[in-house]
Symmetry: C2
Subunit: 350 residues, 2 copies
């Protein structure tokens, strides 16, 4: 009886354990000065990347990250069966321009800052079911292109409130394939949980951490309930970009829900910057935030064995400037992707 | 050896033949006066639908279409495993608001007017592989919300050039499940071909038919090549919204490519309006165009046996007002979904 590949009500099991055989990251100058700088592959010193606009700079970063991920796997663009990709800009044009350059079948996504997990989840399912041999999952954001689209003209230099977040300038790409295709053991995606939209009525686009925290908590609690595992099942549970305000709220809500993750519970938006040294207010945000922190920082640790199993929970605030100006509240979502390093107990190719 | 479920280079085979067990459509007044009026389930007489803005009206239509598709299948929202949905507005807010009301796992898509096929293709793969029991695919657009976002303030009443298209006010939803779950035979999705981005340099956002035609042709030729079938394999090959200009270009390019579809080759954007009686310039466009024409018009004919096999090829122009103003060309895409009616030779539950 279908559906065969599910556990609990909302979680998909991937019995064929699709593997992440290559990742690549490109970041901007602010990220290159942060504590994770050494985990990023390409570090730009110029926010414009020599392009004529920030929008073009973002497209350029995404093209570089996806191209590098393909090349590092010893492949060419024509080997890729599907590109799952999205970003924050209207009509996700950086992703479309990247798909045009790669010239591979393209599934355009919009999940705001949840996009990296959304893309990884979709790509993993396609690999698991044998619907693709190589799938590329990618996401990008750029501080300056996002700032002027969502808030104020970037050159205006509007002051940010303490709960505001700094959009990460970065692009992350991850190449997925089946275990049998990889020359050496790679981190495997074992489960994915697509999130439901939660909206508790927050209207302040300068406080997206508060808006997104309940969606993250719902997906995390659902995932643990579906798997029937305890708080110590994962070495790391990493949200995308709750930042300081949202992370604190989520920690309280998780504990109220009976899940005490302690130091295992981290946030990509808090890891990527040094908030004492860098003026990023509550921390990082943007599709590129969990994109580069997962593809750079966490992938390195999964490969090195410092992390056995982790849950990536990219978080997205699904507002638009129009809905914000029309007084609507902010719907939020979080998708979860469980990844197991080759060293994990019960890991690769049992 | 993976991948098992593919034919040719770019086409995915769905051996378990996921079925479209229910569809629903909601259209606006212009569409309700067109030649397909009788094929649409809910016909609105007011473009605002009693809402405070066109954006809210579009969200409302999408909620009504998705809710009706679920109810008509005898299901409740909590039975739905995944909603694949997108629209034309910045950050696809009508889709997110719909996902919030349905409260089901949500995969947000952006494929411009290719969204209906993109959603159907993804949903079909998830059903085929047993990753979901019920998947809902949906898309919407609204003339007035699109007009002011992409072109001019709607109230300004800018004159349109003859090659311009009229964005369809409409929402379509299709519920997918495995054949074993449906009480009676339903149209089945047999193959999907995700498109590659084609950009031949068109910059005119008032001539999207010319921009999209080459992408549609590429996907159609690729699909026929992958399957190794002749021009008479499908009773209907329906593009999404090439309209008058794009349809003529595509017909020529297909013939040059050796595929003479003749009267089988139709376009949803031409079918939905009477261009002699209605001032829609080249014809219809928008995610809702192939959304309502497929879910309303073609589904009825597939069920009634007037169509045995058809190929839906929704077409999308992946521009944004920003990229347009920055002088970029228009990347385009087309996704193809092959659907077989219960009466087709070699059809349901062989």
């Amino acid at each position: 009886m279908l559906p065969g590949n599910r556990v609990g009500r909302y979680t998909i099991v991937l019995p064929n354990r699709p593997e992440i055989c290559s990742t690549s990251t490109v970041v901007g100058p602010q990220e290159a000065q942060g504590p994770l700088a050494g985990d990023f592959e390409v570090r730009k010193t110029d926010r414009l990347l020599g392009q004529s606009s920030w929008e073009h700079a973002e497209s350029h970063m995404l093209q570089e990250a996806t191209g590098n991920a393909i090349r590092k796997a010893g492949l060419k663009p024509e080997d890729i069966d599907l590109l799952f990709c999205g970003d924050l800009l209207d009509q996700i044009t950086p992703s479309s321009f990247t798909a045009r350059e790669l010239y591979v079948p393209f599934v355009g996504l919009y999940g705001a800052c949840s996009t990296m997990a959304e893309a990884l989840a979709l790509g993993s399912v396609f690999i698991d079911g044998g619907y693709a041999r190589y799938a590329l999952a990618a996401a990008s954001s750029h501080h300056d292109s996002a700032e002027r689209q969502y808030r104020y003209p970037t050159e205006f230099g509007a002051q940010a409130v303490p709960s505001a977040q700094w959009t990460v300038t970065g692009a992350g790409a991850a190449l997925l394939t089946s275990g049998g295709e990889t020359p050496r053991p790679c981190p495997a995606v074992t489960h994915v949980t697509f999130g439901r939209v939660v909206d508790l009525g927050v209207k302040d686009s300068s406080d997206m951490g508060s808006a997104m925290a309940p969606a993250a908590v719902q997906t995390i609690l659902q995932h643990f309930e579906d798997l029937g595992v305890d708080a110590d099942h994962y070495d790391v549970v990493a949200t995308g970009d709750l930042a300081a305000v949202g992370h604190e709220i989520a920690s309280v809500l998780l504990a109220e829900g009976g899940l005490k993750l302690g130091g295992r519970f981290v946030d990509c938006g808090l890891l990527i910057y040094d908030r004492q040294q860098q003026d990023v207010k509550a921390g990082g945000s943007g599709c590129g935030c969990s994109g580069v922190v997962f593809c750079g920082h966490f992938m390195r640790r999964l490969l090195q064995g410092q992390i056995g199993r982790m849950l990536l929970v990219s978080t997205g605030a699904l507002l638009s400037p129009t809905t914000y100006q029309q007084g609507d509240t902010i719907p939020c979502i979080a998708h979860a992707v469980a990844v197991e390093g080759p060293s994990a107990a019960g890991g690769h190719r049992r």
